[in-house]
């Protein structure tokens, strides 16, 4: 079977180059008088793609943590939320409720990365020495704490009212909503490809081999003289930082942030996507997330066709299927659809 990986390998130019070109194209359209107006029906389509691309950033980071290094981060949404809220609070102009410092957006982006990485460093430094599954509990608990705090401190975060008036640099430059959605899609796709290229390079390098060695057996790796804790720590921080970037992109795309979006379902979507695609294979993990997000959209579309069944019931059925998929994939195909069983050490 020709996997996505094979097809990608056969391309004459690297994904980093393609990504750079896409970024350049979107910037040309944004910064020069060149103008496109996509047809109106594409708007929701592009909005869904943007969501998928944001999840793509999350899964690349998570895959470095779990797929390559074996760290079970079950609170990935926390870093995403910290990134989003840091970016929003640094840049929002006089929001109705909550803090808005009104800095230009690059400050927000840098702040988001720093804040998410700092949270990652804090959790990593304290928990990575413990049994592997304790990290899952701590990260899950941190995500819950953060979600509660974001909802409760209305004076700072805007609470359930949401923090608004966050600058939308792309929407401002693009003019119309349709053009904005399309150019955001192109720009984010480009950025995701560049990120993918960087992380892929990282995991293919000797550095990545050490990470996989840690995943396979920590003690042996330690015996070889590698600083296991240091490797785990930095892999965790890098993954957190990229989730922070995704959070900032989310905030600047939407122009507001609210706790309702940063729930455990983000974590579950990213995890199931990665496990379905293939942990340890960045490309497969991104496609896996695409499958799950696409599945979500397909059921939403189906629901509109069958109005007799309530949206809530549909959501229940969808989540049941996602759970069932998770159980089945771990049991029967633990390497995911395109993962390498030998590399992951799951071949029986």
């Amino acid at each position: 079977m020709a996997t996505a990986e094979d097809i990608r390998e056969r391309l004459p130019i690297g994904s980093g180059t393609i990504g750079g070109l896409l970024v350049a194209v979107s910037l040309v359209f944004l910064l020069t008088p060149l103008f496109v107006q996509p047809p109106g029906w594409t708007l929701t389509f592009f909005e869904d793609i943007i969501l998928f691309l944001l999840f793509g950033f999350l899964v690349v980071g998570l895959n470095l943590q779990f797929g390559h290094t074996g760290l079970v981060n079950f609170g990935h949404v926390a870093f995403f939320a910290v990134g989003g809220y840091t970016a929003a609070m640094l840049t929002a102009n006089d929001p109705l409720v909550g803090v808005g410092l009104g800095f230009p957006w690059p400050v927000g982006l840098i702040g988001a990365v720093v804040a998410a990485a700092a949270l990652g460093a804090l959790i990593g430094a304290s928990t990575l020495r413990l049994r592997g599954d304790f990290l899952a509990i701590v990260t899950l608990a941190i995500a819950e704490i953060l979600h509660d705090l974001l909802g409760s401190f209305q004076g700072i975060t805007g609470g359930d009212v949401s923090l608004q008036n966050v600058p939308r640099p792309i929407a401002d430059l693009a003019g119309t909503a349709g053009a904005s959605a399309m150019l955001t899609t192109v720009l984010f796709a480009g950025l995701l490809l560049v990120t993918y290229a960087v992380f892929h390079r990282l995991s293919e390098s000797p550095y990545g081999r050490v990470l996989r060695a840690i995943r396979a057996d920590e003690r042996v790796t330690q015996t070889l003289g590698k600083n296991v804790f240091g490797y785990k720590f930095w892999a965790f921080v890098y993954g957190a930082a990229i989730a922070g970037v995704a959070g900032a992109l989310y905030a600047f795309n939407l122009g507001s942030v609210s706790p309702g979006f940063f729930t455990i379902s983000v974590t579950v979507t990213v995890w199931v996507g990665m496990l379905v695609g293939g942990p340890g294979n960045d490309w497969a993990a991104i496609i896996g997330v695409g499958i799950i997000v696409g599945f979500r959209l397909a059921t939403r579309f189906l629901n509109e066709q069958v109005p007799a069944i309530s949206a809530d019931q549909f959501a229940s059925v969808r989540l049941m299927l996602v759970g069932l998929l998770l159980i089945l994939i771990i049991r029967y195909r633990p390497q995911g659809l395109w993962g390498d069983a030998g590399k992951l050490g799951v071949d029986q």
């Binding site: 074996g70 079970v72 079950f74 304290s126 928990t127 020495r129 413990l130 049994r131 592997g132 599954d133 304790f134 899952a136 509990i137 701590v138 899950l140 608990a141 941190i142 819950e144 704490i145 509660d148 705090l149 909802g151 409760s152 209305q154 920590e218 579950v268 995890w271 496990l275 809530d312 019931q313 959501a315 229940s316 059925v317 989540l319 049941m320 996602v322 759970g323 069932l324 998929l325 998770l326 159980i327 771990i330 049991r331 633990p334 799951v346």
Partner: protein, 293 residues
């Protein structure tokens, strides 16, 4: 004269009791099957809804319905474990943990699909004992809960210390390989642990349905508290989990009382703060279990 904090302490002990019953099962599974069962919360929800069936549809008296609720929860939990977890018993803790998240999703949303989202109660029809002079009250639900928890804890203690099976269970929790060569049938022990743990989870859910009412999300919202109690007590230690549950319940209850009103929703958040602090300061919990990588 109203005694300060007595009411909060009572609420704390009530919360602690729910968590304790839930945490007993969780920590047993952790100790013996060596997995963190993220579906444990849903096992509790199942117990709550079995309670609605037993007490309302079948018309059993509330206290008598305990027996069928525990029996059915126990065997349902064991059947699920046999179907879902047992085939993975050689793969280590992480695949088991991920599978339990999947199972939790299936169960939670399955219940959501068949049950209405409104909160439902099992009506105990109990009186409230007021001590207005001293400034506190105790409800019949509270008293039933205390009694059930006491019986459960003593029962588990006697089981673990006085029966061959309980001793075998402790031996296996300590060192599975050694237990196996001593002739303990580890597969059967795992099955028994699943039955016991699920029965206690069902009991916890049923008590929640009596005391606070239950929704399809009840178990999941209690899950982190249960995990926190189990870790606070030293993961795998049943006694530790019970102590941890009460420490946690009282912490949450006092936090709610002492925090300003806008932050009162953060009472449960305090529990997670406790969890993170315990893991940072003393990850082995009260009993100091071995947890380093």
């Amino acid at each position: 004269m109203a005694l300060p904090f007595v009411q909060e302490l009572i609420f704390g002990v009530v919360t602690g009791s729910y968590i304790a019953i839930g945490a007993i099962g969780f920590t047993m599974v952790y100790g013996l099957v060596n997995m963190i069962n993220f579906a444990h919360g849903e096992y509790m929800t199942v117990g709550a809804y079995l309670g609605f069936v037993a007490a309302e549809s079948l018309g059993l008296p509330v206290t008598l319905a305990l027996v069928p609720v525990m029996l059915v929860s126990g065997f349902a939990g064991w059947a699920l474990a046999w179907l879902v977890f047992e085939p993975l018993s050689d793969t280590g803790p992480i695949p088991l943990l991920l599978t339990s998240i999947g199972l939790g999703l299936v169960l939670r949303n399955g219940i959501r699909l068949v049950a209405s989202p409104e909160k439902r109660y099992v009506d105990l029809n109990a009186t409230t004992f007021r001590f207005d002079d001293l400034g506190f009250f105790v409800t019949g639900q509270h008293l039933l809960l205390f009694a059930v928890t006491a019986v459960a804890v003593v029962g588990v203690h006697l089981f673990l210390t006085r029966t061959t099976m309980g001793k075998a269970m402790r031996a296996m929790s300590d060192n599975e390989a050694l237990a196996k060569v001593t002739g303990i049938r580890t597969r059967r022990m795992r099955a028994i642990v699943w039955i016991l743990a699920s029965a206690f989870a069902g009991l916890a859910g049923y008590m929640l349905a009596i005391g606070q009412g239950a929704t399809p999300h009840t178990g999941f919202s209690q899950l982190l508290l249960v995990i926190t109690a189990a870790i606070l007590g030293g993961a795998g230690s049943v006694y530790g989990a019970v102590v941890g549950a009460y420490v946690l319940g009282i912490t949450v209850s006092l936090a709610i009382a002492l925090l300003p009103s806008w932050a009162s929703e953060l009472g449960t958040t305090m529990a997670f703060v406790v969890l993170v602090l315990v893991l940072l300061v003393r990850p082995g919990g009260i009993t100091g279990e071995e947890v380093s990588a």
